[in-house]
Subunit: 714 residues, 2 copies
């Protein structure tokens, strides 16, 4: 159910230059004015403290000396309040309140007969604002040279950042002072198959910050549609961030046609880090769902033929016979198999059997289609056709087999960044999915983008990702796009976008490892815009056990891996490890089997970026609760009240915790499972290893007898 | 019927560096060798005279210091001869002989373990050669920095050229010495909606040349597929042309993957200019037809709602109400019509009636679909949807109306250069055509190409044109692509490509005019690669009579306009002028009604580039003959023997000639029509005005009585 309240409070032209807007709860205050040059300036205070100092707003246009930077006068200020509650198709909570006060400032530019509008929405958790370009004679088509939106910091805050890059987001987070970004930039730019940096002080959003007086600030954007993705570039003398858009092949940063708007620029603020994690502001700034019937959109827990390729045990490619392959030219049918092809019928059936046995919804298979012999690094246009399987992968047979076991196959479309090629095949590829019983696709954009010169996050390519999502919706197909632009809450509008990668995922644990505190940062940054297909659940941390030539180490404990299913919210969760590893640790695997992927409620119990996150979630339908804690590199005792439970009821909590000697590096597979009786009055004190954590499943006993003999947690 | 003879004459490794190949008739001799640096060198002699001096061959690769330029040894030379006769789906002649001697030279590069092959085909009308890259380990993917193919001139020849440009071919031809190109380049670059020059001595192919001793040389390319279009850049100190490929957005000139080949580089040579016009070498170097069933491909004579927009009398756009329009946003249904929209039901019916009355096959209508209000100059991505008509254009009603009159509607897809947008709509647009009875489309690429940074003639865009042709073939749709890359004989392989513009067409006569000798050059240049939709048949040369604000003048006589239907071979011919002008000159219009568009035979009777062309063609089915003469700026008497006719038979020739006082500028509408009796023994002597010409239709009388009283031409 949706409630909708809209009051027009104020609507008249103003002479006084300083405008103020308060959040519904009064904690935030936004000030807007024009400076002496007629440039728009805004600042933000939180609980009487300034959190964003006065900073300019505007856009520099190409071939337009005056641009949209100054010489403005305020011609109109209109304020309103808005309050609705909407129901997400999937999510962390059953319903979302969208409550804000709005101020829309119309600015006339002297001498150009042009006007723009800046719309501010002040929520109880922060500020969103955007540029709007109404229809008008003197501003029709225009090219953005740079957006000049400033975020002026009040001090040399701690920042949790990854380096700015037009082509990858898959970096480990760096924690440093703002002033240290420049010195750390080069080191932070670890190798990637596609990467394009631009500035020694450039960083990506969502950017997490913490002030010395304990205020948490997050900078990001919402509703990125037909616009270039925003980075932030720091003036580290004045500690002012400025927007830095992703350019196209010509170096231009956006082609706009009025009427149109920019995405929202977002500033989420709280003195309690948990509020940042719980914020739904990014979703709220997106448009309501545009899919009329969403019955076909559903959460998915899955396994897949994947980790064995990532670790190097098996291959995506079918043959090693040729120095290079060409679709339509290379004879795959008569090629000599390399003997290590993962996506073969027998192996896939093994995964289907495993999925069916343990109650998983789906099986992803990568490397099923011809072309993987030389699929990246060649700027190859016609790289895949998305419809032709290798000789040892029988689409119809496997579909029938999976169906007979109650499991769905999950499609994989690696594009190798060749967007035109993908669009050319898209209808055929989606239809092929429908014809063969697939309703979800993992798409990928590894390597440089084609058309050559475009970037992963330029307007052109963002338009492509959106095209793929909307066309998939026409086919009732769910999309999980990897290497696409970081999400900005668009899943509210297009809930068939059930996942994205767009950050450093578990695969990097097989490519040299990620930092042990990585999962304590993702919910503060990447996840604010939408769920991540992080592919957790690795039980064997020594990758050389799978592939003797790969000496990478998974830098978490096994208990931490379990906790990820709760701490990294996603309607799409993979159990990424090999079936044999789950068989070996079947008691721990029980948690992955039990954990829900869709929720009625979420309570963030503890949170500090880079250090720890503890969250409790209530499963849809069953009402069972699940708790997850991920811990950073420092050992720590987590202390949480289970007051989200009914104090009058008794539940059995199964706690999957680090063993006493557990350590992400030296002893990651040490864990202990215990069952205790809990209620809403219980308090848990749980030690967490370096890179560790814990996971808890909580359910009322089916029979009170089950409580007998179990210790009680007070 | 197809005859196919292939002899392997020679196949063994050679030590001797100099290789020689002769044409079947012995007139040509090709010499190939390696110079001291191991660079390939070739030269060409014709009738014992050198016509191409020794010049180098090779490719410069990106990121590869050694490239494919030198350090070669000859590892194999294989020669063969080939002779076949193939039947074109449409054309100037009933069957085409493809007869050549071939030499394939395999070159190993020292120190790289790479090999390439240069394949020479020597015909009786000239030389074709290309680079081939066989499958091999050390040459898989490579990027062309520049192709280094030289065409070394033997002297300071006369050249008939247009300036090199990555984005337009629509220039008037300049006739000058090679040494004068540099000085004339700037002036030759008249304004165009998209243009990108690159060098003061850059010119386009097909380039026509004439030596001082009367040898005609034409340089062009054949079978341009998945490669960048070649320009020629002149070293005007040494008089050596070198290939200059069209770059992509990054400045790269080609992304290749072995096995693959370059297009053919062609050198057509004769001491008789007529042989250049009659050459089928460009087609012969293309692959045979790839469309299994070609029954649906047919020649088309058509009229259209077009010239009234070109001259500015009416508009493509429906409304002037908005400063800018957006598909899906702008409300066209309720927009205020501007009252000048050409593609309205009533006007289209007028053209359908006219077509039906005079026996035309089709009616083209431009400006029928929404979006023309601001369709160019804005780098607009979502510019057209190709399926949504304006409110005053009823697709179904007009289709039914045309069908009832035995006329087919011709579709128009202007892309505004937005290639991704066109590809996204292509299936829907072609299906829309099939659903509404269209079987031919005129496509257009006006303005800069999207993706931004790409050029009209770069590999990326050429790949798009080819995609459009092949997809159209799937739908059994014929394509007439405007502003696409100049044709290179691909219509042999894809005969549904029934036309191209790719040169300065008649529209320029309404944009300031073309040179009076323009049509005497097109058959020597642009038409060698394929037919042109030149849109001839303008009877009113004073454009201000149509639109008082347009003072352009059509720089030909009316008789010249008639001759174009014969001299500019195309299976697609438009009668481009307004119906009321044809009504006014109905006697001259009879020739356009009568003239065929598909031929069993063609005899080039007279030819000199820039001066005159006279051709006689025998119509398919009827066996009637048609003669056309176009004259340049100098008045001249054309003298031709009608020995292509049966000497024993008597025919009636209807001669449409310039009036005695005719002149392209001062008196273009002066013409005289006379009937005479002719036979194969007749000789015609016909005066041609400046910018004039004549057209003749020749048929045996249905009844010998018709000959009575007619003068006899001896």
């Amino acid at each position: 159910m949706k409630k909708f309240i809209l009051f027009i409070i104020l609507l008249f032209p103003l002479i006084a230059p300083a405008q103020e807007l308060k959040s519904p709860n009064g904690n935030f205050s936004l000030a807007f004015s024009l400076d002496a040059s007629g440039a728009p300036v805004y600042s933000l205070t939180y609980k009487q403290k300034m959190v964003i100092k006065p900073g300019k707003l505007g856009l520099e246009l190409k071939g337009d000396a005056k641009s949209l930077l100054n010489d403005f006068t305020i011609s109109n200020v209109s304020t309103s309040t808005f309050d609705e509650t909407w129901t997400p198709v999937w999510g962390e909570v059953k319903s979302v309140r969208n409550h804000y006060n709005e101020m829309a400032v119309t600015l006339n530019q002297k001498g150009t007969d042009r006007h723009i509008l800046i719309r501010f929405r002040l929520f109880d958790d922060g500020l969103g604002f955007r540029y709007e370009f109404p229809p008008q004679k003197n501003l029709t088509y225009f090219v953005i040279k740079e957006e000049r939106t400033q975020f002026a910091m009040t001090g040399n805050h701690a920042a949790y950042w990854i380096p700015g890059d037009y082509d990858t987001q898959e970096y480990d987070y760096v924690t440093s002072r703002l002033s240290e970004i420049r010195g750390l930039q080069a080191k932070s730019r670890t190798q990637n198959l596609s990467q394009t940096g631009f500035s020694p002080t450039g960083v990506q959003t969502s950017l997490m910050l913490k002030t010395d007086d304990g205020i948490y600030i997050n900078l990001h954007e919402a509703a990125l549609v037909n616009y270039s993705c925003m980075h932030l570039n720091l003036d580290d003398t004045n500690l002012v961030f400025e927007s830095w858009l992703t350019p196209d092949a010509k170096g231009d940063k956006g082609y706009l046609q009025a009427p149109c708007t920019s995405p929202w620029r977002t500033i989420i603020v709280s003195d309690d880090a948990r509020d940042i994690l719980a914020s739904k502001m990014t979703y709220n700034l997106n448009e309501p769902c545009k899919i009329a019937d969403t019955d076909w959109v559903h959460p998915v827990k899955y396994v897949g033929v994947w980790w064995e390729m990532i670790t190097g045990k098996s291959t995506w490619a079918y043959t090693d016979q040729y120095p290079t392959v060409q679709l339509g030219v290379t004879d795959f049918a008569n090629a000599k198999p390399n003997g290590r092809h993962g996506a073969n019928n027998a192996n896939v059936k093994k995964y289907i059997d495993f999925a069916a046995k343990h109650g998983f919804d789906g099986v992803l298979v990568e490397g099923w289609n011809i072309g993987w012999e030389d699929w990246f690094g060649h700027s190859k246009d016609h790289v895949f056709d998305f419809i032709t399987p290798y000789p040892d992968f029988n689409v119809q047979e496997l579909h029938e087999y999976a169906k007979s076991k109650g499991v769905k196959m999950i499609m994989h479309h690696e594009t190798s960044g060749s967007t035109r090629n993908y669009e050319r095949y898209m209808d055929a590829a989606y239809q092929f999915m429908k014809d063969n019983g697939y309703d979800a696709v993992k798409s990928g954009y590894v390597g440089p983008i084609l058309p050559r010169g475009e970037n992963h996050y330029s307007q052109w390519t963002i338009n492509h990702y959106q095209y793929a999502i909307e066309k998939a919706a026409q086919y009732k197909i769910m999309v999980n796009a990897h290497e696409a632009v970081r999400p900005t809450g668009l899943a509210r509008t297009w809930p068939n976008l059930i996942g994205n990668e767009s950050a450093r995922g578990t695969e990097y644990q097989a490519f040299g490892g990620s930092k042990p505190n990585h999962a304590t940062l993702l919910p503060f940054t990447r996840l604010l815009g939408g769920p991540m297909d992080y592919t957790p659940g690795i039980f064997e941390m020594d990758v050389s056990k799978i592939n003797p030539n790969n000496h990478s180490h998974v830098n978490t404990t096994l208990a931490n891996q379990l906790a990820l299913y709760v701490t990294l919210y996603s309607p799409l969760q993979m159990a990424a490890d090999l079936p044999e590893h789950y068989d070996r640790y079947h008691d721990a695997f029980q948690f992955i089997k039990d954990v829900a992927v869709d929720w009625d409620d979420s309570n963030y119990l503890e949170a500090e970026p880079g250090e720890y996150i503890t969250v409790a979630r209530k499963a849809k339908k069953t009402g069972h609760w699940f708790v997850g804690n991920v811990n950073g590199e420092k050992p720590r005792t987590s202390t949480v009240a289970l007051d989200f439970l009914d104090p009058a009821k008794k539940y059995i909590a199964t706690i999957y915790a680090d063993g006493k000697d557990a350590h992400f590096k030296t002893n990651p597979q040490s864990y202990a499972i215990r069952k205790v009786v809990v209620s809403g009055k219980s308090k848990l004190s749980q030690w967490c290893a370096p890179g560790g954590g814990y996971a808890i499943s909580i359910a009322e006993p089916a029979n009170p007898q089950e409580l007998k003999g179990l210790p009680v947690l007070r």
